[in-house]
């Protein structure tokens, strides 16, 4: 299912329109994956102008009455014959393939010559953005890859980054490392993949993320994520667990 991860309130609004269009074109559910920060944030929003909907894809499958002019339409998900169900699955995966081809989306910042690429989506990407700029100021060739679609995952962008000399990826997340495997699959051994994350509503400071970038730049892993198999092995280093930002009681 296409999943969109906005990093601003404006983007959250804009993505709704795109998500509807993709849902309509491919007959698939789509999801807007906002996080607790983005979801509760107030920012000005400009809604797009109304548009003409007459060019939306035709819907010959719709169950809106046969008007006695066509054979009746049926919408169901029950296939009792294994052959029929297998064919349905193939047809669906054909659709997924098209979505993977056409709808990967990401934002790149300072990536042209990046050796260390921070990968972050949603609110985490806003913190990572500052940290990457600070790293550049310190002479580290860091860049930011912000996935806008989490599925399809922006693998083509990661391919290009690897081809252009990225040697290390650092997944910065506001969760327990759920994205690490996506990054590792896309990197496919061409660079190291590390993880720095906080959860539960604790936000890392840009300084903490910068420290993680510096650790990676020095060639040390932040955590032993190259051995990632179980989620437990990608927990952030204990020294990072106490944040300078704590939620007020």
């Amino acid at each position: 299912m296409p999943v969109f991860a906005p990093s601003t309130v404006q983007e959250m609004a804009d993505l709704i329109y795109d998500a509807f269009d993709i849902a309509d074109e491919y007959r698939t559910p789509t999801m807007i994956l906002a996080d607790g920060m983005i979801g509760q944030m107030m920012e000005p929003v400009l809604l797009p102008p109304e548009r003409d909907l007459s060019s939306l894809p035709a819907k010959p499958w719709a169950t809106s009455g046969s008007k006695m002019e066509r054979k009746h339409n049926v919408i169901n998900s029950l296939y009792l014959s294994p052959n029929e169900l297998e064919n349905t699955n193939y047809e669906r995966f054909e659709r997924y393939k098209q979505i993977i081809e056409k709808h990967q989306r990401q934002e790149l910042m300072m990536c042209d010559d990046a050796e260390i690429v921070v990968v972050a989506f949603g609110a985490a990407s806003r913190i990572a953005r500052t940290a990457v700029r600070d790293a550049r100021a310190k002479g580290i060739k860091a860049g930011l890859l912000r996935p806008i679609t989490l599925w399809p995952y922006p693998t083509k962008a990661i391919d290009e980054l690897c081809e252009n000399g990225a040697r290390a990826f650092l997944s910065v997340e506001l969760n327990m490392g759920q994205m690490v495997q996506d990054v590792r699959l896309a990197v496919n051994g061409r660079a190291t993949v590390d993880f720095y994350g906080r959860t539960g509503g604790v936000l890392p400071t840009p300084e903490e993320v910068l420290e993680a970038i510096e650790t990676v730049a020095a060639g040390d892993p932040v955590v032993q994520s190259s051995e990632v198999g179980a989620v437990g092995s990608i927990l952030p280093h204990p020294k990072h667990r106490k944040s300078t930002y704590e939620r007020g009681e």
Partner: protein, 298 residues
Amino acid sequence: MAKPNAGTITLPEYQQERIGSQIAADETIKSARPHVLTDVVTNYCPGCTHGIVNRLVAECIDELGIEGKTVGIAPVGCSVMMYNFFNCDMIEAAHGRAPAVATGVKRVHPENVVFAYQGDGDLASIGTAETVHAATRGEKITVIFINNAIYGMTGGQMAPTSLPNQVTQTSPYGRDVSKVGYPVRIAELLSTLDGVAYVERVTCDSRKHIMDAKKAIKKAFQNQIDGVGYSLVEVVATCPTNWGMTPQDAFQWLRENMLPYYPLGVYKDVVADGFATAAEAALERAKDCPIAQQKKED
């Protein structure tokens, strides 16, 4: 528009084979398959009430001439394959979600006639929330509810509607109300909701009751066509297979045990009460409540 294809018809081949010499293929038959029913053999057990009610719904659609604008929502349960039995547009909903799907179709296409057809496990167990909220929202849909006091499709487990002490696969010593509580009377329950226009409970154990059931189903469709509001017909039904009885014994058991617990009758009918819509009736019921009487300007 669609008319029942009565008159002289040639029996389909599979019927000629089965009926053989008893009825010649060119004999005149007065009552034929309604147009909105497809020419397939259903999966219902012999003597099952589902078959009768499918037929009644089909006759009503034919007689009202609404096949071309009707959208039916099939449940999960023995009637899950209903989308293969009907010639109108059909959707198969997830278990219990037929009223939610019907709501979506009706709101997007108010000109369509939308009906949900659901069993008691579907409507009164997993889908209770959808049922109650579609009713209280006053969705302008028609619901046909087959209450056979059991989960038929999955092999006869206890349903919320199973009677006290009724033996089922999951209540082998009889339904123990001290542990699992009491049956739900859906018609009574929904009749208290302001969003509801019409609720009637019927059954199909005799020719007369079948004709009454048809009248109720037709009214539930007519109400939708007239914009009166949410209408539900509860059919007290049998499941001979999982009750472990012959169809005749099942109807006898229904008369002895089901009907005293689920009395037949009209539980709400705003039209009979002199209102044009459920909304008008709701306004009158709340006549002493000032805020409910405020007119909405838009």
